[in-house]
């Protein structure tokens, strides 16, 4: 195969000094008209919609995740009962007064579930974002610069990748005062290596691509090359990595809360499970106490997983399933 030297920079687009033009002229960017803002919003929404309906898995997945996010944001506004209020209706099965029954302290479990959604969803995404920031930075820097920087960062990544996350998180958390932020940060610090490794591999392959060489030849500053040229091309991997990580940290945070390492004064799915266990909900037959929170965790996780597999399918056509027309199927000979 012959190799023709090609550059994505055609001579016509360099400016007088032989550099790439830096963007649209300032005057255009500053003028905004109301009509264009509205049409801009509509365009974004439309783009969003076409993205979400790209295939069935993505649709269902984002539906589930969206549902939980909405409940987390607005759910507690609709709750009349105080989730932490003790009543005398101890261990009551679900009824019209208490939709999900009550726990050992007579607290209404439905309100606890809804309020808990806010904490669980928030910390899961918070921790996930933290992991994202760490792994993207480490991965990009390590992959782009190579050399001794890469060696050190890769070693760090490999070592932490091998140390199991949950046990390490337990070791760390137990010495600190119980607080949700502690858990979230520690979980983030133990779950970043996987994403970092994936991104490093991707950056390595991107680094030698022509558009990067062109950008550097055009004189773009290093950090701009990394963040404006390489990163946008890795977005789908970053997105997939973020989603996978969020599932893991969701489970990790809930696991730590279950073990009693969370802040027992706040309500979340994990702390509800912890409460159920320590109060021997099982022996009391109070399935309505431990079933819903765990179910929510699993559903949110499943929604994220669906989203992930949907993106996978979209990115790799081999995983897609084309639906052939029925008539053509009948005509098939071989």
């Amino acid at each position: 195969m012959s190799h023709s030297p090609s550059s994505h920079v055609s001579p016509a687009s360099l400016d007088a000094d032989g550099r790439l033009p830096s963007g649209p002229p300032p005057s255009e960017a500053l003028t905004t008209r109301p009509a264009s803002i509205l049409s801009g919003v509509v365009a974004v929404l439309r783009g969003f919609w076409s993205l979400v309906t790209i295939n069935r898995k993505v649709m269902v997945g984002s539906g589930i995740v969206g549902f939980f996010v909405l409940v987390a944001l607005f759910g507690p506004l609709f709750i009349r009962q105080n989730p932490l209020k003790y009543t005398f209706d101890l261990i009551d099965p679900p009824s019209s007064a208490h939709w999900l029954g009550t726990n050992l302290g007579g607290q209404d479990l439905f309100s606890q579930l809804v309020v808990g959604t806010r904490a669980s969803v928030f910390w899961a995404f918070f921790s996930g974002l933290l992991v994202l920031v760490i792994s993207v930075t480490v991965g990009l820097v390590s992959g782009y610069f190579g050399g001794i920087v890469d060696d050190i960062l890769s070693l760090l990544t490999s070592v932490f990748l091998v140390i199991p996350a949950l046990p390490l998180a337990i070791v760390a958390t137990q010495y600190f005062p119980r607080a949700e932020i502690t858990i979230a940060v520690i979980v983030a610090l133990t779950n970043w290596p996987w994403g970092a490794r994936v991104l490093r591999a991707q950056t390595l392959s991107m680094r030698s691509r022509e558009f990067v060489t062109a950008a550097r030849a055009g004189g773009e500053r290093t950090w701009r090359v990394i963040f404006s040229e390489i990163l946008p091309n890795e977005l789908s991997i970053v997105a997939a990595s973020f989603i996978t990580t969020t599932i893991q940290v969701l489970l990790a945070v809930a696991g730590l809360e279950f073990l009693g390492l969370g802040d027992s004064s706040i309500v979340s799915w994990g702390t509800m499970l912890n409460g159920a266990y320590t109060s021997s909900a099982l022996i009391l037959g109070a399935w309505w106490w431990f079933a819903p929170p765990g179910l929510c965790i699993a559903l949110l996780g499943a929604g994220l997983a669906l989203l992930n597999f949907g993106i996978d399918e979209f990115a790799d056509p081999r995983l897609r399933r084309e639906r052939p027309a029925k008539a053509a199927q009948k005509k098939a000979v071989a």
């Binding site: 091998v162 489970l251 009693g260 499943a302 996978d312």
Partner: protein, 332 residues
Amino acid sequence: MRHLIRRLSIYLLAIWAAITLNFFLPRLAPGNPAELYFYRLETHGSINPAALKALEIEFGLNTTDSLWVQYLKYLNNLIHGNLGISITFFPSSVGDIIAQNIRWTLVLLTMSVLISFTLGTLIGVFLAWRRASALDTALSSVMMFLYSILYPWLAFMALYFLAFSLGWFPIQDAYDAATVTPGWNLDFLLNAADHAFLPALTIVVSTVAGWMLTMRNSMITTLSEDYVLMAKAKGLTSRRVMFAYAARNAILPSVTGFAITLGGIVGGSLLVEIIFNYPGVGFSLFQGIQNDDFALTQGILLLVIVAIIIMNLIADLLYAVLDPRAGQERSM
């Protein structure tokens, strides 16, 4: 060869890092958790002075030694298996507790891992071969749900519905102390298996999903490779194509995934033991956490971490055996 040595050194480094982190963490935390621990320990009664010394060294109390010397003494204790005294099980040493309970955890783990891996892989291969069937869609969706389940929750459900309500399985413990005596007799073994079944089942159900999905996607990608097409073109039997050409290649990502999931399984079995009151080290760990029994938790966790790292190492070696290309540097 060079590649393998590199991998080996990473594992050794990881073990060292875990041990060192273990050393530093109590010293980094705000307040002084170690001192509190000590105080509580002393109020329990008289302690074996050697063990006391070990704890002082472990947590850096009552000492004028520099950090570096403390560290060396800590390492020395570790090598001698001196992990200190447990508050919860006073006056037993941590080492004793672990030695006593680890056998149950191992029983549970072995059963779970074997069943999970085999089942997950076979189902994955089968489903990939029969793509686009209704079974595939249904099972995949179920798997995705199971993939994100919290082990204790599943354990709760299983325990409640299968053991508590229906009475099919025992609710707790490793065996019925009242009816059987430990030892290599059939009664005991059956009883132990009966008790281990439900916990193992919950672990299997949770982890099989992950492996199955990996295997399925891996198989699908592999089945579209040219060498599978060529194998078919060669007129080989479906079975040979599926196993020797497709699965043999598709399983490689699974082996790596196996190592990573293994960490999850061990962690998961710890959680599962709690629900089932199964007297393994996981249960002891939980008790330790509840009592702020740092010596106990530290000891168990360190053991678990090192064990998982070693398992990863073995999986890596296994991969090298399975894939003849593994001798080359891969940014895998």
